[in-house]
Symmetry: D2
Subunit: 363 residues, 4 copies
Amino acid sequence: MSSSYGENIKLTIFGQSHSPAIGMTLEGIPAGESICMETLKRFLSRRAPGKNDWSTKRKEADEPEFLCGFINNTTCGAPITAIIRNTDTRKGDYESFSYIPRPGHADYTAFVKYGGFEDHSGGGHFSGRLTAPLCIAGGICKQLLMREGINIISRIKSIGPLEDSGDLDRSTAEKDFPVIDDGQGKLMQEYILWAKSRGDSVGGTIECVATGLPAGLGDPMFDGMENRISQIVFGIPAIKGIEFGAGFAAAKMTGSRNNDQFFIENGTVRTLTNHSGGILGGITNGMPLCFRVAVKPTPSIAVSQKSFDETTLKETELLIPGRHDPCIVPRAVPCVEAAAAVAIYDALLGRRKELNGNSGYSK
Amino acid sequence: MSSSYGENIKLTIFGQSHSPAIGMTLEGIPAGESICMETLKRFLSRRAPGKNDWSTKRKEADEPEFLCGFINNTTCGAPITAIIRNTDTRKGDYESFSYIPRPGHADYTAFVKYGGFEDHSGGGHFSGRLTAPLCIAGGICKQLLMREGINIISRIKSIGPLEDSGDLDRSTAEKDFPVIDDGQGKLMQEYILWAKSRGDSVGGTIECVATGLPAGLGDPMFDGMENRISQIVFGIPAIKGIEFGAGFAAAKMTGSRNNDQFFIENGTVRTLTNHSGGILGGITNGMPLCFRVAVKPTPSIAVSQKSFDETTLKETELLIPGRHDPCIVPRAVPCVEAAAAVAIYDALLGRRKELNGNSGYSK
Amino acid sequence: MSSSYGENIKLTIFGQSHSPAIGMTLEGIPAGESICMETLKRFLSRRAPGKNDWSTKRKEADEPEFLCGFINNTTCGAPITAIIRNTDTRKGDYESFSYIPRPGHADYTAFVKYGGFEDHSGGGHFSGRLTAPLCIAGGICKQLLMREGINIISRIKSIGPLEDSGDLDRSTAEKDFPVIDDGQGKLMQEYILWAKSRGDSVGGTIECVATGLPAGLGDPMFDGMENRISQIVFGIPAIKGIEFGAGFAAAKMTGSRNNDQFFIENGTVRTLTNHSGGILGGITNGMPLCFRVAVKPTPSIAVSQKSFDETTLKETELLIPGRHDPCIVPRAVPCVEAAAAVAIYDALLGRRKELNGNSGYSK
Amino acid sequence: MSSSYGENIKLTIFGQSHSPAIGMTLEGIPAGESICMETLKRFLSRRAPGKNDWSTKRKEADEPEFLCGFINNTTCGAPITAIIRNTDTRKGDYESFSYIPRPGHADYTAFVKYGGFEDHSGGGHFSGRLTAPLCIAGGICKQLLMREGINIISRIKSIGPLEDSGDLDRSTAEKDFPVIDDGQGKLMQEYILWAKSRGDSVGGTIECVATGLPAGLGDPMFDGMENRISQIVFGIPAIKGIEFGAGFAAAKMTGSRNNDQFFIENGTVRTLTNHSGGILGGITNGMPLCFRVAVKPTPSIAVSQKSFDETTLKETELLIPGRHDPCIVPRAVPCVEAAAAVAIYDALLGRRKELNGNSGYSK
């Protein structure tokens, strides 16, 4: 079903950009796991809008209210539901172009699919705002994974034509603008502001790495780690591509160069390179799982665009008012981490079914 | 479940490279659809091995036997099951390195996952051979889609560093080596043979386009067309990346350039460009649906590689005998088409639930 | 997943008896369906507690707050989420026997499953209170079905040894104590009060009938109407049996008596009897769909019972304080209707996939 | 999807009564489990037709051919597919009444659902013959459960009005006519033959018990053991009712009598009675899981019945030729066991996800 994800846990996301509330239900988290709410809030704040010059001015506390699933911040086995009230909604911004679809947005496809009954305020259920509940679920899974020694980190890999350099490590996560090369980060921010000054927007890429993974997560064919991660990551609006390990670069290599040869280090199997991104046959091999996604430039721009009236099929010019991010890449970083965390935690639970747990049964 | 795919139809693929047979079950195809078996066989022959210099010498007729689901080549509503017998199996080729995992293959991850009980002959369930049943399912769906005016075509977009040019149209599908620029195609084939002569292999990219799609297929969030197509496409071994429309190139554009502006042509909504690849908010917009995948170079190469013995964790050198493709890209082209056909037909059936079919009920 | 149901729609229920709120998310309802909130509230009030002598004194307005999915009471295609705040919670009632499982309740099995981390206040996620969100979903589906001429009605078929007589029709639904024979209904109520006066409880059976169904709903094997309805109905606590049509009585008949012979009435296929309960091969045949469920007596009783301490495995006597229904059958009637409505509406949407809707596509 | 079942394993059943073959695919069985093929065949032979006076004369060896999933009778982690060839098919028997639906069969509903394209030979996909693949899957799961100390046994509880007495134990399983009271069994067989002599048929009930289950299997709400078992059991044709523990009898008891009070025996939690059938809140409590199903009399009878022509809607009389069981209850016994085995093994794997398996990971 469209707004649900997962095989061993089940995430359901609900809400529209301007409905009374948005939220999520997360089923299948084992009982007895304590969640640090402060850590969760800190994670959510990485996605929150209104913090700086390049993100939308809409201010939402994004404070989740947990309706069920916890006893004293410890999971009790029942589904976890959290909601976030939509307080700072300004529906008026959207009324003027209700039936004039914004290019690059889902307005027109929502109109076709829902026959004009869709909620077009702020993108309705298609809004980037729906990544907030994704981050609640991901923030919970990140804590559970951390407990098993698994870390998920990510960074801005590029903004427009500007690339970050170096290799991703955990220090990046603490930064407001998560790049390794802060000088390059500075340039990226300037590039975003330049686009903003022209009423335009820019895209970029995000790199995400999970370390500490055991070998053996994921399944062959349609439930491989690539399949699982793609399925959730494309749920983040504006993502148009994903590659694992060397990805598209692998397509240009020879096999002798692309193959990751094995060696043994302290009794552990490792590979000399990691072009596979830690995934072979859909299954983790114990090396860091690594992927990159392409984020398109924010479709809401302040320049005039060609569109049409859905009710008359007459062409028209469209000027979009309202508050928008000239670049959503920085705010999408924790969303990608969250998506990866949910997918990986789901695979981790799935792996337990295979491991012989007989002795654990109380008869 | 790992070897199953689909929401409105359900495809299940079974078999190992050297098991008595491989096959597929396809549930949920409406009754009364006649399938042309000749067209299906022609489609399957595009994937079949042993046809030319660059593909494996293993000869398999790949003739499917339908066990059920059809009455006189017309679907009867029951699940369709087809099998292909594995006749030309040479298990001996694999015995020498049973416990020495081949770099770039799933040998090691299968060993971890299945604890040494996995079938390692020819890659077992991870073998590219399992794309034959995928092509049976896809070939059936392609015929059903054609009936609704939907065509799925594809081509080799690049081999190693060599790019095809031009725009994809239906004529490409008839070619043995499906590129638009045949001169460039010639170079690509030479490049493959050069790699083969060195015991090496090469990768490439494949482009796939679906035309004639109605607007409104797919769902928001985790069931968008990108999510659905990715989930099945990564089920094809060796695919390491996917991008829709402009994909990774969109990440370098500004919004004003990337946005596809609307116009009306003969009462139909169209866009001036198609950077979205025909998908907005996960839902088709009526423009051609377009995506590209990255195929890594075949991991089976004839040069010596570093590996280890799974039973002793001792490092060792590995030389792989047997028959392998120096480049699987040409044979992967129909597999990508097949995967797209299954995903799109599934979405098409899902769309019917939303359209008001009340009058159709017999009470 | 445990708290989710459905193939073409997806119902997710969340909450615990004493968590801040309980609620449900319902995905997949087509856009453009208007829901009468007054009718929905009237339906929910049939389940609400505190109305009479035999139901728990706990008073809950059971007023759902819709968080999303509607624009002016019309579905917009996005998931529908509704919550009910838990206001009249008295956790203290349960503290005295937190680790002493109540016989007939899920206390002990929840303890084993969740390792002591479960929410044992009022049964937590296992509470009958969770049928309120089920009734929200069912109330919505009932309205959608009504629009297609499908009515779902039900009655108390028996309380303890006392049986209702006559055939079910729509007038029963309007009654506070839904039986056909009001004289018998009076006896049943006296029987309940007699049990209450002794600190005991009684069970009963409920009959549910859906009329106006088209033939052709449901699928063979594991997705037949019997399978689908059972799967959701056993989600209502205290239900321990279900039978369709003649059910267990059919097991005593001969084939010549049990078979429903066909006749044609005004061009419509009908059967002389309806021992099949309107279902053949899992699929509706156009006759009324009919089933009965067995409801066990409320396990919470005021008499002393043998139990044990989960932390010490020492046996002990248990006396349960708190407010409980001496008979939940009357309040379970709308829950069974709700469950049937969800299952039947799901099957109705599934049927649309098969009907040829080609002409409906906008290209 | 209709012909698939399971959450942690996935069973897919395919085939029609007279298609070239029938079969099943079973995904998700952990690797390294060895299956005794002799034991499996012995189990299948309990369902096989043609053995005695009251079952159909159609002779099928019912010998499964395994196409994949095993290496030397040990699971390798890949999906297991087995097929049974349909050899003794006599399509002619059915041709005379192709468009005259047999009362009590799925002929008419299949016609509506599949629009006349259905396979009506021998009931097509609705045939009782499709329980043979169910028994393959169930026979495998029974062996896996046995390994964990879990036994599934069953018996004929009644034939028509004749009831078996006593309590079910393992010795019954070895009998050709599985009842406890052989004298009563003799009467039952005479009753079946009496019905046969009149061209009629009889129904009955089957009781199934699983012993040795750990507490904690199953989930609340829609994935309880009652829900899971019902969902698969109603996949067996002719079953019209199911009850767990005291079932419908519980509806006549008071709470003080129905509640199963606890005691401790050798440090193990037990209950004085087992009216719950070993399931509380959908979850096993460690007592034997017990249920009964109602099997309707075989609808194929030799007496004339009223029907109609589907193509003309004209009423007609129908006389059914062919070979049929006057009572399918004896052959349904292993099918019910098989269904229970699949459901319980699925729940057992699901339980492993919750048990802390951290130490089992190889990093």
